[in-house]
């Protein structure tokens, strides 16, 4: 006889997660009176067809706003409906943190996006005084989170994740499905939506007249398998569980295993030194820094990681905390490199009455394998690596100063190139057009030139730039570049580019902004934009 305790899964449904988070963020923004009820408000997302409602407060629901509705429709029902942007990414991040917190009730917890959690509570309920007390504890603690009513949570416990989910969303409050109960019989009154199916599958089932779980299960039993075959045939192409009611039903009953993907917390690498005697001078601080960098290297080496961002916290005797942050171009754990970069950042630290604790934390780390140690002599001989060189440059000159040009899909010359961090991967781009000559260098801002021409839309003959007169000897053009109408105003003028060479052989790239008589302003201006080699 097996002594394993029966599997117990708890599902927690945070029914109003988005609204609860909005309420808490509003309170964080400014102290609102505690007793004030929520206004009729909807959280919206911008879609291609206009703003769409994601969630609404109780007052908003009462006024007629529904999730999934267009905001314009809701406004006709309730003209004074307030709106706020919804934050799905923030909700998901919050849910991840909540999943870690929920491990207080069980050793494993999994996300059930967008607004639920699953906790494996096999054989732990007695620690909380039974399953009923456990569910009460969940609701109480969720309601106490963050104040302002906290989070509204509904929890249920069942032998499978599917059954627990169904009971949490559609069952009575604090429902428990005991291991000896027949799940199909207990859940037969729940709607088919309790099967975690996609909306289009639910629509199909409703058109078939199947509204309750019991009906779906009943079809199977009535005709000894023939009914199941019929449903199987209808959904035979649907491999994903969310699109196939039979798979979902089997998961609910426990005939098909449903693995949970647990959330595991990975605390960032952290090393610290508490100092016996507060330090007030730079030299001992450098020594502590060197020790910390060594510790950090060992810590990261053990994890097989390298730091991309390091945060150095200096706790002063009077309670102040000075934080210095450093980002690297590539993952590293070289102590000498870290010390060298931090040295530039520690110059302006005010030690006050002394620093009593120093902590170094790698808040962003990436996998980094072990490499051959760079001996000092070898570094002197062979020079630094590219990543180390870029780090040194960007620490002294700033992130914005060290960049790499990448192509961008645009015809406007100055938009056709963008700048990104030097070691970031190049974005995918189409092959560049090669039939137009482009100048070697582009001025940051095209400079206005005074041009002499024979006819307004003809070749330039002579121009004055930076106080010097240039005689145009040879010219090629125009290359006409129209404004990007989908982005710019309708009054933007087109550009006619000319490649020219002056009497001394200097080659420039100039353009005329607009045409004579194009109805978008007076006489067109001329600009010099590029210098050819």
């Amino acid at each position: 006889m097996s002594t394993d305790p029966p599997r117990r899964i708890m599902a927690i449904w945070l029914a109003r997660l988005a609204i609860d988070r909005w309420r808490q963020s509003r309170r964080a923004a400014g102290p609102a009176p505690e007793a004030e009820p929520d206004p009729p408000l909807a959280l919206i997302t911008e879609t291609a067809h206009g703003p769409r409602i994601d969630a609404a407060t109780d007052a908003g629901l009462a006024a007629g706003a529904r999730p999934g509705m267009m905001l314009a429709d809701a406004r006709t029902l309730c003209p004074h409906l307030q709106v706020a942007p919804s934050d799905p990414a923030g909700d998901l991040a919050f849910l991840e943190r909540l999943a870690l917190w929920a491990q207080r009730w069980g050793p494993w917890s999994a996300l059930d996006a967008p607004d639920g959690l699953l906790v494996d509570v096999t054989a732990v309920a007695h620690l909380f005084g039974g399953e009923r007390a456990l569910l009460a504890d969940v609701e109480e603690r969720c309601a106490g989170l963050g104040g302002m009513g906290g989070l509204i949570a509904r929890a249920a416990i069942a032998p499978t994740a599917g059954a627990a989910w169904a009971l949490a969303h559609h069952g009575p409050p604090r429902a428990i499905l005991a291991p000896e109960d027949d799940p199909l019989q207990r859940l037969s009154d729940l709607p088919v939506a309790a099967l975690r199916l996609d909306a289009d599958v639910l629509l199909v089932l409703r058109r078939l007249g199947i509204k309750r779980l019991g009906q779906l299960a009943g079809i199977e039993e009535e005709s000894e398998g023939a009914g199941r075959d019929a449903i199987h045939r209808r959904f035979r192409n649907r491999r994903s569980p969310a699109a196939n009611p039979l798979i979902r039903l089997d998961q609910l009953v426990g005939r098909v295993p449903e693995p949970l993907l647990p959330v595991v917390a990975t605390p960032p690498a952290l090393v610290q030194r508490r100092l016996l005697e507060p330090i007030r001078h730079r030299d001992p601080l450098d020594i502590v820094m060197r020790d910390l960098a060594q510790d950090m290297m060992r810590e990261l080496e053990g994890r097989g990681e390298g730091a991309r961002r390091l945060e150095l916290g200096l706790w002063r005797v009077d309670g102040e905390v000075v934080v210095r942050r450093l980002e690297f171009a590539a993952a590293t754990r070289d102590p000498a490199h870290i010390c060298r970069l931090f040295a530039a950042r520690l110059d302006d630290v005010d030690a006050g009455f002394g620093i009593e604790m120093v902590r170094l934390r790698a808040s962003w780390a990436e996998p980094l394998g072990l490499g051959q140690a760079d001996l000092d002599e070898a570094a002197e001989e062979h020079g630094t690596s590219l990543a180390a060189c870029l780090d040194r440059l960007s620490v002294r000159l700033g992130e914005q100063a060290v960049r790499r040009p990448v192509p961008f899909a645009s015809h406007i010359p100055e938009r056709a190139q963008r700048w990104q961090p030097p070691l970031a991967p190049e974005p995918p781009a189409q092959e560049e057009l090669t039939f137009h000559a482009r100048p070697l260098k582009l001025l940051d801002r095209p400079e206005k030139i005074a041009v002499l021409y024979a006819t307004p839309d003809g070749y330039p003959v002579q121009f004055r730039w930076r106080g010097k007169v240039h005689e145009v000897v040879r010219v090629e053009g125009p290359e006409r570049i129209a404004p990007e109408w989908w982005r710019e105003k309708g009054t933007t003028r087109l550009r006619d580019y000319y490649r020219i060479e002056d009497g001394a052989g200097r080659r420039y790239w100039i353009y005329r902004l607009g045409l004579h008589g194009d109805g978008r302003g007076g006489l067109p201006d001329w600009f010099l934009q590029g210098l050819c080699g």
């Binding site: 590219l386 060189c389 440059l393 056709a416 560049e432 052989g505 590029g530 210098l531």
Partner: protein, 261 residues
Amino acid sequence: MDPSTFPTTGEPPALAPDALVGAAVSARRWRPGLKSHPLHSEIFAPGGEGSGGALALALALDMLRVEAEAAEEEARSGRSPKSREVLEQRSVLWVQDRAALRLTGRPYRPGLPPMLRRRLIHVAAETPEDTLFALEEGVRCRDLACVIGEIAGNPKALDFTASRRLTLTAERHNVPLFLVRLDAAPDLSSARMRWRVQAAASPPPLWNAAAPGPESWQAELFRARAHPPGTWTLREEGDTLHALAASGEGKVAADTHIRSA
């Protein structure tokens, strides 16, 4: 005297003493595609044209091509430390100070030579001091193919000591440095080669004689350790740098162009 300035041809001289001097001079004359290249060059250019940066790029490309060919030869003989692919993926660091940026603008990727488009890293430094720091860090980096710098005028920070420092670092780590000096007077410097460049009228292109042709520059080598001074019209044609002796100069080399092979 620097022994490297002597002709290095292994053939016994079978010529009259007069001709010998001439041959020695012409052997020492600079031409594109030379195997031994100096690691610190200075290029003086006017600020109102793109010739300085363009010549620096052309010289850098010429040097990179020679390097790549040498690597290929070594690979063929089976004792190659670096493959050609590795060499051709190394980045090029281009450092500009703020005044140079304002004078001649930023490098424009679609206008760069195709083999450099993916490899350029640009550094916009505020002051000449920052520029010199960036140049030195770049020259010290083993993963860079070369470093190009642009500094406008004669800043105080760029004195003989600073240029000597750059030369020594470049020669120690074997990373070539091309320093473009815009609107600058040729002051004291330890650069191994010093050029003065300005734009030259381009030859007419093949199809449209009225259009500007391939880029050409009038380059004067006015100080070099290993070469006698001279003036050339330089031009990139196809994949090679061509040098035409300037007219009016009574020297022999009519078209001492690279790679006679």
